[in-house]
């Protein structure tokens, strides 16, 4: 009895037309053919690449292999960072991450998912967050900030902190700083505190599309009730969820979604925030996957698919900070090397996540950077852990921390 899976025609066609060029593993524009696929780089077998996964998916569809634990183990090692989809075929569809998303949905439907993810989703269903922490504590990060609560008062802009910021105490200062910066610029801001729930993005990436829809509907209901038309978040994964995924599933409506970096860049341009103090350091910028290439093909505006990736605003921000020497790594922008946390890898395969982060840290060091600046709490968490593992050597900042230092 074959326990395979069925793909739709577009995806199956893709798997039969893969030329096995392995172009999915190395960059072009911004990376001089340097390898940028974490699983390929670590495990080396062709299987651990988009092309290899395509061959595997083809075999599943054709009934030549069953959906075994071994298969899901390979699939879930991929962070679905999208570096491969960027290079292969270079067109709007396929966003070849669709292949990973479909395969994972099938894994979920077949009840064949890494144990770590089963446990995390149970936690999500119970406490509305991805970190298995009590729901009642979700608002603690904002204690003392005295920010408006959108469930009680009206506010212009809603700041979505996200599960990682809410429950990772070490990262609280970053979210608090973001809120303070926005208020300093005169933005009428509100948060949801303990009533905030997960955006559902990670659940989607793990294949739990049903769960994702629930959270999308709940979030949009809350925002509608609160009369919110503009959302800002510091979390790149959240940005991707609200801006892209909610839109694909027709849930986003006319909600405007911003990432903190583009919002701050605009505020600085308008003169509402003025960085004047010098921040002396040599720093490089790590492009979070969910802020850049994962957002690229899917923004629907006026019926057309347009690119919505954020590569330049964080760079503008860094360039506006006096005294900061900004240098670029080799694998940047759409060819950036993933931090290793995404797609559930930080939970199910933490050693591999740390290895991936370690590679990025080495790249930063190799160009002479003292610090990596990023714009996503998952990246920051993974880099922090990797630096701890390797006993230091590089500082990790979120971009808002440096902006604050410069004000």
């Amino acid at each position: 009895m074959s326990n395979g899976i069925k793909l739709d025609e577009r995806l199956y066609n893709f798997t039969t037309r893969c030329v096995r060029c392995a172009g999915c593993t190395f960059g072009y524009k911004n990376a001089e053919f340097e390898l940028f696929c974490p699983i390929y780089n670590k495990f080396n077998f062709f299987t651990y690449s988009l092309g290899g996964i395509a061959q595997l998916a083809r075999a599943l569809h054709e009934g030549r292999i069953d959906l075994t634990e071994s298969v899901t183990d390979i699939l879930y090692h991929c962070t679905s960072c999208g570096a491969c989809a960027e290079v292969c075929a270079e067109v709007d569809f396929p966003d070849l991450m669709e292949l990973q998303h479909e395969l994972r949905a099938r894994c979920v439907e077949g009840g064949q998912v890494p144990f770590a993810h089963m446990v995390i989703i149970e936690g999500l269903k119970k406490d509305d967050n991805m970190l298995q922490k009590p729901k009642a504590e979700r608002g603690k990060w904002a204690e003392g900030l005295e920010v408006k609560d959108i469930t009680k008062e009206k506010a212009e802009v809603y700041y979505h902190a996200g599960c990682r910021y809410c429950f990772d105490e070490e990262l609280w200062p970053v979210a608090r700083t973001a809120v303070n910066l926005l208020r300093r610029a005169g933005i009428d801001l509100g948060i949801a505190g303990k009533d905030e729930t997960c955006c559902g993005g990670r659940a989607f990436e793990l294949g739990y599309q049903g769960e994702f829809i629930k959270y999308a509907e709940n979030n949009m209901e809350m925002l509608k009730t609160a009369g919110i038309k503009t959302l800002v978040t510091s979390c790149a994964d959240g940005y991707y969820a609200f801006k892209v995924l909610y839109d694909i599933f027709g849930k986003r409506g006319d909600l405007e979604v911003f990432h903190i970096t583009e919002y701050l860049a605009r505020l600085i341009k308008e003169g509402r925030l003025k960085p004047t103090k010098s921040v002396a350091m040599t720093a490089t910028y790590h492009d979070p996957c969910h802020l850049g290439r994962k957002v690229e093909p899917w923004i629907r505006q006026e019926g057309e698919l347009k690119a919505g990736e954020i590569y330049q605003p964080p760079r503008d921000l860094l360039n506006s900070i006096p005294g900061l020497k900004f240098i670029e790594m080799r694998r940047i922008k759409e060819n950036a090397w993933c931090c290793g946390a995404g797609g559930g890898v930080i939970d199910a395969y933490s050693d591999f996540a740390l290895w991936t982060a370690g590679e990025r840290i080495e790249e930063a060091k190799s160009i002479g950077a003292e610090a990596i600046v990023t714009a996503c709490p998952w990246c920051k968490r993974n880099f922090n852990d990797a630096v701890k593992e390797s006993n230091g050597g590089l500082k990790i900042y979120d971009i808002v921390e440096l902006v604050e230092q410069a004000l």
């Binding site: 009840g111 089963m118 049903g210 769960e211």
Partner: protein, 262 residues
């Protein structure tokens, strides 16, 4: 030692949002994208009841499930939280059985296992909500059953159960062997950690197909699925007119009487 059998049905996650449901009308099947199979929630309550008994008495808990394409990974959760053995009845013939065929098949397996003291099931499955399989098994095995129970305790060869009724609960006693169907008031199933899930790989999982079980599921289905569809909800709003509030009220009353509601 108390020999407990818990019947657990694998269902699609009942917490999936309504908008995720699609129907393939031709094959009369539900399509739920990205929705996992889970242990039916009331069956989880039944398992929790079994584990509480095991906490208090020397027991062996065997989990039994029947179907097709059963997910070992999902059902292993029962082993991770403390069940001792998993018995899967897996066969193409066991797909989409009606309540009677399900009760018959489970009862056959239980009969074949023999030596049981207590059988626990959920009060109803979270997908069909029919609620008859538990009692059905008891009928076929010829043992007493108590349904919709919120507490189960053993005492000297007897089971003492608190049965939920609309204004409270009844306390009922019955000798072993017997069958109890459990309700959510009993309490949630304890959590499984990743470590426990991994360790559950060391516990035995036995699979029987129809032949090994020694049954042919009854050819006559008591119920036949005619069609499956998502009801179209239509909201129509008629505004009752009137110059004054009294007039509007009177017009509303007339409309309600015309609709035979008053």
């Amino acid at each position: 030692m108390v020999n407990i059998i818990v019947c657990i049905k694998q269902v699609f996650d009942p917490e999936a949002p309504a908008s995720a449901y699609k129907i393939d009308a031709e094959v009369k099947r539900v399509i739920l994208k990205g929705v996992p199979p889970v242990l039916s929630p009331f069956d989880e309550n039944a398992l929790e009841a079994a584990l509480r008994i095991k906490d208090a008495h020397d027991s062996k808990v065997t989990v039994l499930s029947v179907g097709r394409n059963l997910s070992k990974a999902v059902l292993m959760k029962s082993l991770a939280v403390g069940a001792d053995e998993l018995l899967l009845l897996e066969d193409g013939a066991f797909e989409e059985m009606d309540s009677y065929a399900t009760a018959f098949t489970l009862a056959s397996a239980i009969g074949k296992l023999g030596g049981y003291d207590l059988i626990l099931t959920g009060r109803e499955a979270a997908d069909t909500n029919a609620g008859t399989v538990g009692s059905g098994i008891a009928e076929i095995l010829g043992i007493p059953s108590i349904t919709i129970v919120r507490k189960v305790e053993l005492d000297d060869g007897k089971v003492i159960a608190e049965r939920v009724v609309s204004d409270g609960y009844e306390v009922i006693e019955t000798p072993l062997p017997s069958l109890i169907t459990v309700s959510n008031e009993l309490g949630e199933l304890r959590y499984a950690t990743v470590k426990q899930l991994v360790a559950s790989r060391n516990k035995p999982i036995v699979t029987w197909n129809a032949q090994e079980l020694g049954v042919e599921p009854p050819q006559v289905r008591q119920a036949r699925l005619l069609s499956l569809f998502i009801p179209q909800k239509e909201n129509r709003c008629e505004v009752v007119e009137g110059e004054t509030a009294e007039e509007m009220g009177a017009n509303l009353a007339l409309k309600l009487r015309a609709a035979q509601i008053l």
